[in-house]
Amino acid sequence: MANLKDLRNRITSVQSTQKITKAMKMVAASKLRRAQETAEAARPYVDRMEKILASLSAGMAGQPGAPKLLSGSGKDRVHLIVVATSERGLCGGFNSNIVKAARAKISRLIAEEKDVRIMTIGKKGATSLRRDYKTHMVQHFDMSHVKRLGFTDTEALADYILTSFNQDEFDICTLFYAKFQSALTQIVTARQLIPVSFETTNVVDLGGAAYDCEPDEKEILEELLPHNVGIQLFRALLENAASEEGARMTAMDSATRNAGDMIDSLRTTYNRTRQAVITNELIEIISGAEAV
């Protein structure tokens, strides 16, 4: 039977763990609120942008002379997989879910004998992907210095993707991130950045009329498409930030609850042991008295 002192020590240690997880949950909850607000505030821009681009490119797609970002390089041999994860752990299944989705895609592409290159944003995804796909990793971006994500922070990432695309280093680019839905659910999303894909529901119905374009369709698209890559990345990172805090909050909440359960059962064992010790002592005293 466990010794009383050991039990007491275990209870205190679980209690202090519970305090930590509880504090982390509170911090995550307040960060979540901010991150969620920013992520939701950014949605209108992306939505409008997609609508405009979808409507414009609907007319341009398939035509000769369409920008490369729209029509692609005409091949699908080299794939760039961009995996956006968090810099910090202890956030439940957040990172592993994103990595799992990316991994599934990567192994499928490798099975199809495509050339896969991996770009990672955030430490957590990089470490777990490096184990299996070390030779495929081409670039890693560390975001740990960023406190509040601004649009300018994503410019370096977009620049890298666009320059390598222009240098024909890859044909198709897919971005993996977790879309924030609620603190309980985050949806891992794979989004093809290059060539851009749009949902057809986004195309605005002009009722037969066409857009008048200044300067002209092609020039606008050539300016907007690279910008769109940056915006998509920015959106993905904002969603990711909110998802991360949400996942952390849920994970820490259940950790706190588990610690509570553990304390309860430890306390029961402790009391039982304590009573057993007292009973033992009583038996010893009584049998001692009877012997006299």
Binding site: T38, A41, A42, P44, Y45, R48, M49, K51, I52, S55, L56, G150, F151, V204, L206, G207, A209, A210, Y211, D212, C213, E214, P215, E217, E219, I220, E223, L224, I231, F234
Partner: protein, 136 residues
């Protein structure tokens, strides 16, 4: 009373304005154009300039930088990278930033630095030039 034009001004950070107005003057790349209700569909990139929003008797003037405008049957949507109300612009602060930017250009060590510094400087200079032309 004629129907109003639905107008939205959006920056990557948030939806800045979303309301019905009488008319908006948009600083398009090929010249300013006014948008009333039932305007033909247009997509245009913007130059750095002043966006004028008329609603009844009041008019808002907003300095915008880098973006584009879209008009469709639902109204006018303007996406910009940066937008500042003209009344909130601090001219002195801008000038001191321009001075700093000029020094940055002079101090730039390598080409990458020079390129970013020059870009920032040109942008500030452009903003100031726009301010001058509207004030004058």
């Amino acid at each position: 009373m004629a129907e109003k034009l639905h107008f939205e001004l959006v920056s990557p950070e948030k939806l800045l304005i979303s309301r019905d107005v009488d008319m908006v003057v948009v600083p398009g790349i090929e010249g300013d154009f006014g948008v009333f209700i039932d305007h033909a569909p247009v997509v245009s990139t913007l130059r750095t300039g002043v966006l004028q929003i008329r609603h009844g008797d009041d008019a808002d003037r907003i300095l915008v930088h880098g973006g584009f405008a879209e008009v469709n049957a639902h109204g006018l949507t303007i996406l910009v990278e940066e937008a500042t109300f003209l009344s909130q612009i601090d001219r002195a602060a801008l000038e001191s930033r321009l001075k700093d930017a000029n020094e940055d250009v002079a101090d730039a060590k390598d080409e990458a630095h020079l390129a970013t510094a020059t870009k920032l400087r040109d942008r500030l200079a452009e903003t100031l030039a726009v301010l001058d032309s509207t004030a004058g």
